[in-house]
């Protein structure tokens, strides 16, 4: 059983990874925290992401403990600078 999510990267994170979007499959019943750990474990350049980045699931800010479902859109939100 695996969960497939679409991850989005913006601004400095997009520059770091050289991509704005990745489809990721995770085993079991993964949380946001599991996704972050799995990405960072890929090594360079993914280990440049913070250990505890701000993340939004389906357009709402989410805690690291939030469970993911297949089809979720998970955005990695660098520190924001609007205005």
């Amino acid at each position: 059983m695996s969960v497939s999510v679409r991850t989005l990267f913006f601004a400095a994170y997009r520059d770091l990874l050289g991509t704005s979007e990745l489809d990721i499959a995770l085993e079991g019943q993964p949380t946001v925290g599991d996704l972050v750990r799995s990405l960072r474990a890929r090594g360079v350049p993914f280990d440049g992401l913070p250990e505890h980045p701000a993340v939004a699931v389906n357009h709402a800010y989410a805690d690291a403990s939030e469970r993911l479902s297949s089809g979720d859109e998970v955005a990695f939100i660098p520190p924001v600078a609007g205005g």
Partner: protein, 167 residues
């Protein structure tokens, strides 16, 4: 009426102000955020604004709704710009109206401060010398990082543009 939008087209402040006001309101207030020509001692020639568009408009609407609850009326209109802006161009406009001025000032201030805390928008400064950099940001409250924390100069935020001072 609550209005909130994110757009690439130039903002027309008089149109945003025109969205608020009623016969009951004795105060109408317009705040404009404008691209300035300097940052931390460097000359700036323009700014690029990037947004998570699918989320930003919803967050902007949420902020405007919260402000209207504080204001006690529903006359709040806010527009944020994206794309490439020159010095002097308006990046954000916040219009509110209320029966008395105190609530209008409070609501206007609330909207712009919350935008800076949690609107998923990023800006890249273009300097006169030709280089450019992401402006340091704020970690949105209630997310993985500590609430409302500025990230400038921190060791564990390796990919954040860092420099002293805040916009």
């Amino acid at each position: 009426m609550i209005r909130a939008s994110v757009q690439t087209e130039p903002i027309r402040p008089e149109a945003v102000l025109g969205h608020v006001g009623s016969d009951e309101d004795g105060a109408a207030l317009l705040f404009l955020g404008v691209v300035r020509n300097h940052a931390d001692g460097r000359s700036v020639r323009g700014m690029h604004y990037d947004a998570y568009e699918a989320m930003a408009e919803a967050v902007l609407r949420e902020i405007a709704t919260e402000a209207s609850e504080r204001l006690g009326t529903d006359h709040v209109s806010v527009v944020h710009r994206t794309g490439d802006l020159d010095v002097g161009e308006v990046s954000v406009a916040v219009a509110v109206s209320s029966p008395h001025r105190a609530e209008a000032y409070e609501a206007s201030r609330y909207v712009i401060e919350e935008i800076k805390k949690r609107l998923p928008v990023w800006k890249r400064e273009h300097y006169a010398e030709g280089d450019d950099a992401w402006v340091e940001g704020t970690v949105p409250p209630g997310t993985g990082g500590a609430p409302g924390r500025s990230t400038g100069g921190r060791d564990d935020e390796p990919v954040t543009a860092t420099r002293g001072g805040r916009p």
